[in-house]
């Protein structure tokens, strides 16, 4: 379960039984191979619909903008649903959306940019990091979000240059302010065509002439910057990225030795991501018991984990929208819209008092349901468990299915009493008229526990 929860979004009961018959190494290989081989989802119908030609009427342009915004909202749901079954591939897509950050607010009238962005993250999810860096800076979404399209000859805008070095590749401390100034110059001239939904280099806006980056002088342009990063700051970049992967998959405080080993492998594999992940997941370090339960679940991991482990309610599109756009946003995670270019801060910041309260609110709604949002199918879930007519065994089993670190069996009685909630134990039956509401309330109790916020 540790492996499945960390590399994906929880596991359905059938996933669990399939993986239980494998050795850990086989399981890791299967998880990584599944991620590499998972087919890309079909593009939405509007994916290539660009802004109307300049001859279009204002009304047509306004209609486009309205539609484009709705496409973005629609795509938040689409991605969320894809993540549920997408395991490691989508987990990495989520990771990258918190690394190469863009927020849809900066291109809200150009919805297809948002699709292009997630599509790129997905295609490179476990791919080649060098190619990834090369392409991500030319994405319209990124050129909008970090002002790359405003960066031009004679008047550079440093925004993208700085974050490229500080947040996307080598991390702070490995470049000077002058490097940023020079990188910005080398990245000048990129623009976006909203009609064709593509970016292009406008050579009249490109700053020709020499730039000195990391001590190397030349008439550098966009590709040269990427080459210089991976030649002059190879180790720094590899360590920075492996450190982030470690934090995301293992624990917030990186083990420097392990990170450096992964970084060496990353460099030796020409910055291919799959071998690094395979090695990390298969390591004994990854399975050390001290780390089990030590990671904070993001709202995405929290909710999708429940849908996988308890069961998916019969949600309508509107239900998804209210979970994704309202409730998860209130718990501090709006998909495709991290708070700033450093992304969601993760770790303990998922559990500020405010975020925890709102997380409880969301979990209560999922467990009990509302007039409009169906509850998690907890009775169906319970029916799949052993000993369902023994309230103590049932309560104990439910807790251990859902919480990462198992409870000692001495807790069985106390948990059973929580489930019974005043009902004498001899009256318990899964078919009793009150059983379902007791199960719902017990599920609400379990998922609100501090233990459940960790995995």
């Amino acid at each position: 379960m540790h492996l499945l929860r960390r590399t994906g979004f929880g596991a359905t009961p059938s996933d669990v039984s399939a993986f239980l018959s494998q050795t850990p190494l086989e399981a890791v290989n299967q998880i990584v191979n599944n991620a590499l081989n998972r087919p890309l989802p079909t593009a939405p119908s509007w994916a290539t619909t660009g802004f109307p030609a300049s001859t279009a009427t204002q009304a047509e342009k306004d209609t486009y903008n309205t539609n484009a915004r709705n496409w973005l909202y629609e795509y938040q749901n689409t991605w969320y649903k894809e993540m549920r079954g997408g395991a490691l591939r989508e987990k990495m897509t989520l990771f990258w959306s918190n690394h190469f950050v863009t927020a849809y607010g900066s291109y809200v009238n150009n919805g297809p940019f948002g699709y292009q962005y997630i599509d790129l993250l997905r295609r490179y999810a476990l791919g080649n990091f060098t190619g990834f860096v090369r392409e991500v800076g030319k994405l319209p979404a990124m050129l909008y979000y970090l002002n790359g399209r405003d960066n031009r000859k004679g008047a550079p805008n440093e925004n993208y240059a700085r974050e490229l070095l500080e947040l996307f590749t080598m991390g702070i401390g490995n470049y000077t302010q002058e490097d940023i100034v020079q990188v910005a110059k080398a990245l000048t001239g990129w623009q976006v065509n909203t009609q064709t939904l593509s970016s292009f280099l406008n050579s009249t806006r490109f700053e020709t002439g020499n730039k000195t980056i990391f001590g190397k002088t030349g008439a550098w342009g966009y590709d040269d910057v990427i080459n210089l990063i991976f030649s002059e700051r190879k180790t720094e970049t590899a360590r920075f990225i492996c450190g982030k992967l470690y934090k995301f998959f293992v624990y917030h405080i990186p083990n420097v030795e392990i990170v450096n080993q992964l970084a060496d492998l990353f460099i030796a594999s020409n910055f291919e991501l799959a071998p690094v992940l395979r090695t990390l997941f298969a390591s004994t370090h990854f399975f050390e018991s001290a780390f089990i339960g030590a990671k904070y679940k993001s709202p995405t991991e929290l909710t999708l984990g429940l849908f996988n482990e308890v069961g998916l309610p019969a949600f309508s599109e509107a239900n998804y929208t209210s979970i994704v756009r309202t409730y998860m946003n209130r718990a501090d995670q709006m998909l495709m819209s991290p708070p700033n270019v450093a992304g969601w801060p993760e770790y303990r910041s998922w559990i500020s008092a405010n975020a925890l309260a709102r997380r409880w609110d969301l979990l209560g709604i999922l467990a009990l349901g509302t007039k409009t949002i169906p509850a998690l199918p907890v009775k169906t879930f319970a029916l799949g468990l052993p000993n369902i007519e023994d309230p103590y065994e049932l309560a104990f089993e439910m807790a251990n299915r859902l919480v990462s670190v198992p409870s000692p069996s001495s807790e069985k009685t106390a948990l059973g009493l929580k489930l019974l909630d005043g009902m004498p134990d001899y009256e318990w039956s899964i078919n009793a008229s009150t059983a379902e509401s007791k199960l719902k309330n017990y599920l609400r109790y379990l998922v609100r526990l501090p233990e459940f916020q960790l995995c």
Binding site: K295, A353, A355, K418
Partner: protein, 550 residues
Amino acid sequence: MCNSHTKDPKKNNAEEGRFGDALAHGEAHTNDHIRWTRRDFLYRVGAASLGASLMMSGLPVRAYGGSNLLERLSLLNTDKILVIIQLNGGNDGLNTIIPVTNDRYYSNRPNIGIKAADSIKLSTEYHIHKSLTNLQNAWGNDEMAVLHSVGYPSPNLSHFRATDIWVSGSGSSDYWEDGWMGRSLDAEYPEYKNNPTPYPLAVQIGSVASMLFRGPDTAMGLSVSDPAEFYRIVSGGAVYDPQNVPATHYGTELSYVRSVANDSVVYGTALKTSYDKTKSNVTYPSTSFAGSLAIVSRLIRGELGARIYHVSLGGFDTHASQLTTHASLLTQLGDAVKAFTDELNAAGYGDRVLSMTFSEFGRRVKENGSSGTDHGTAAPMFLFGKGVNGGFFGTGPDLVNLDAGGNIKYSTDFRAVYGTILLNWFGMSVTEVQQILGLSSFSVGNYLPSLVATPTSEDQPLPNGITLEQNFPNPFQGITTIRYHLRQPMKATVRVFDLNGRAIAKLTDQFQSAGTHELQFNGDWLPNGRYIVRLETPIGGTSKQMTISR
């Protein structure tokens, strides 16, 4: 005492158990623990027998366990509040406080430089952005200080690193994991983690917790965006045991979540109660930033007890087309601050509340090619409140001697500003402030009047029957007893001062019956030396010297 830390009471001591990983147990145990804490507290208060019912801001101070905590509490001879307004993204200082007589400003900013005629005059040299027109009143009343070119050596131009430096109060090359306010509160409430106060010490309006309130090993503040909603969700929630967890990374994090959960449940009620005591008396602008300040005002006027509030306004990272964006942000700032200070002043809180703005950096002197500005360095800070000495402080931006990156060199270190606030606003000791800021010295600013009192110069002959006896034992180590007599019921205040006249402890401050009263003072936390104990009443005051000697 709480034996259940080693044995489970429900198990009739039949076996030793590990409890941190017990789901149902965490909750049940906690009820016991809370009772224990309260009993223990009562015991400790009895033992300390300060003879005074310590009240702070209308709420009984309880649930402390530290040896010198009660004294340290009274050390804060103040009910002062600090409101920190963070301008996220890097506010453009030069277009906020505009150097209208500086040609360099206009030559560097041909497109976005703001003309004297389009701005509001504060002095011949400096105008303020016209979107801050609502601050004119505060400026005119000497209730606004502008601190020029605040920054630090070797400035960092990363949003995130620079923000960390500002909120942790560290130097450019130090990497501190906690916030300057978190450390300050930790210094005042060292037992906070194990025995939290019944109200939050610090409140951040927002959701994602800032490093600002992070103490050395726990969160010292609470983040809330809407007290009413917060209360609805958390009320009736379970309270968990943060102490008994497995000795693993999991245990560490579980303890953290449990503490936050407990804070939420306990503080939800305190917040709601204070929030509901008052309504907004002025019309705030309909921005969410103004909404945050409106909440802060209600909590302050509802006497929550929190000493620090933190609100933020984002969007200052004006790399492109900054004129309109910046103007709109400053309008939000100025209008909300005006409503907030008007409301507090009218309610009589003007003297108790200090507001301070900061941003992680200012912006580049030279505009960029997108009618915006890139990341810069030093920038002005604002202080608001009736307790402020109004006007300009420090040296204005020097646009000739820029640093290598074309940025302004700082003239005031931001840590000196923090130090001045801790010293002259909260009344912390110099040593303590130096410890919190990790500085061997800092220059105290003139924008906040000094708190130093002059306890011995104003003595009048006291009417018969009001006397302060020499403390005994004296000289003393540890505890000494201070005895005084009142001939009739009246308000009496007893404070201890150091020889610099700084109030370091308040032992009582309330209406008292006639007769003989005794207080005990524990000097364990003070260095050897002479101190002054002073009795003040409405009809006169008197002092005695006492000596700590070990």
